[in-house]
């Protein structure tokens, strides 16, 4: 089972690389646009739609990385107040439920991409990019997140059974959660 967790960590590195490129490009491009607009009274019209779409990519990749570290926003009152061993079992269950739910959200996104592809619309008049290409991260991202939830569930089961996962212990993870 170790290969699964290694794959998970490898995937996170690739995601982080892409995320960093997108974020730094967003900072640079939008700063440039701000200076052009406010100082030189002009603008590069393709920057706005491009940056808005980058936001979508950042949202999905960021969400996937949050899932990898089990840092998604949730109402975790119950698990906080319950003893740890019961909390761990509940998290197996919630991760499985989340994997299924996200799978359906991803499938809805795939339908959307099919519709947009048939439609053949461009993202914007100023950005010569097919709309479905700009939004392709929606199904990809949600399928990745769904997979991540499944991996987390398996990891929790391994931890409960005392099997090796190659991850740092969940207690250390808990410590990081505060951040």
């Amino acid at each position: 089972m170790k290969w699964l967790f290694q794959f998970d960590r490898g995937l996170a590195k690739v995601e982080l690389f892409i995320l960093s490129i997108f974020l730094l490009s967003m900072v640079t491009l939008y700063s440039l646009q701000t200076i052009l607009r406010n100082v030189f009274d002009t603008a590069l019209l393709w920057i706005d739609p491009l940056v808005y779409n980058m936001l979508l990519w950042i949202a999905l990749i960021g969400g996937s990385l949050a899932t990898q570290k089990e840092k998604n926003i949730s109402i975790d009152v119950t698990t906080k107040l319950l003893p740890k061993n019961i909390g761990d079992k509940i998290m197996v269950f919630t991760n499985v439920a989340a994997a299924i739910g996200t799978f359906f959200i991803a499938s809805a996104a795939l339908d959307y991409i099919h519709f947009m592809r048939e439609d053949g619309m461009l993202e914007s008049d100023y950005l010569p990019l097919q709309l479905w290409v700009a939004k392709i991260i929606l199904p990809i991202g949600f399928y990745l997140i769904s997979l991540r939830f499944a991996i987390r569930a398996i990891e929790r089961v391994c931890l409960i059974l005392g099997l090796e996962t190659g991850q740092e212990s969940k207690d250390e993870k808990k410590g990081e959660e505060g951040k």
């Binding site: 979508l56 950042i58 949202a59 969400g63 990385l65 926003i73 509940i90």
Partner: protein, 421 residues
Amino acid sequence: MTALVTIGIILLALLGTPLFVIIGSSTLVMYFFEGTEPALLTINIATLATKQILVAIPLFTFAGYLIAESNSPHRIIRFARAAIGWFPGGLAIVALLACAIFTAFSGASGVTIIALGGLLYPLLVKEGYTEKFALGHITASGSAGLLIFPAVPLILYSIVAEVSFDQLKNAAILPWLVLVGCLSIYCIIFAKKNNIPREPFDKKELIVSFWGMKWEFAIPVLVFGGIYGGFVTAAESAAITALYTFVMTVFIYGDIKIFRDLPKIVRESMSLVGGILLILGCALGLTNYLIDMEVPDRIFEYMQTMIDNKYVFLFALNIFLLIVGCMMDVFSAIMIVVPIIVPVAAAFGINPLHLGVIFLTNLEIGYSTPPVGLNLFIASFRFNKPLVSVYAAALPFLAVRFVVLAIITYIPWLSLCLIMD
């Protein structure tokens, strides 16, 4: 069948299933019963890529995390101490302001407790404040930044409630000053009562510490000058701030190393942003559906049978939001509750901008309200103190905040005077 599915979903939410999954799946279930195409949910999520103001969220959060990981907090606090440390309760006020402004940037008060707590807590104790005071003060101060620009919750509320962001940020100015003012008065009274020694005013230290943070000074000028002066939009201000902070922390000070620190900062900050935006995307799908189904109208009709005036409604709202603020983080609370409450409150004659200020003040109190307010857990973890002692430490600060909440809620003028022409 519908009731069974609803109970199942609520149960999953309470057990800690991530909220975007809960909201997205609930929407899909409702679409299924109505025979609506599931792709409609994705159309709503895709509208995230059409709102300029949303670009501000990752950019400000990134800037906030860069500052948190650099040595800037040390430099800023050194200057602030030199500037107002000689005042009674001065250091406590420095801590309050530092936490508030820091939260406004990083978007999350938990991050403030982690990043500044380690610095401010020992400092307060060293200067003679009791451990209990220091603990409660840092725990509660973390959330004092939700009402000032560029706090992400302020931006989110304007999007979800469909009010002008410009007006909302102005509406929140006076209430924030009242909040910070009352907490400062409490700090002064505490310092005087407990004879906390004051630091002597040192002109040389003031000049040296000022010079030490000369680069940081440009940040408030860029952020507050640009936005409150009306020169740039929130997203534009965010871009310039992020670029400036990046250059400052990486190239000028060299506090942040590109290969050593940057990946962690990108990861931490964008995990938070991703989490928020996923919920927002899914919530847009859900709320559009609820509004189509006229759910807020039905809630209003139902409430009218029990509540007949706006003050009773506001009181009930305060209580309700305190519970929500305890259970949920401020982002999810805004995205889930606001779309339903805004039309109901409007029907009771409450201005949506005033409602926004009440909402955010309430939620920030909820953050440090026992037994489950998020900041209490973070502080307990950060300072290695039992949860019960954090509860006890936070109580006096909560009492001050309740007074402020009452003032803000029942004097709408405070929120509305700066936006009335």
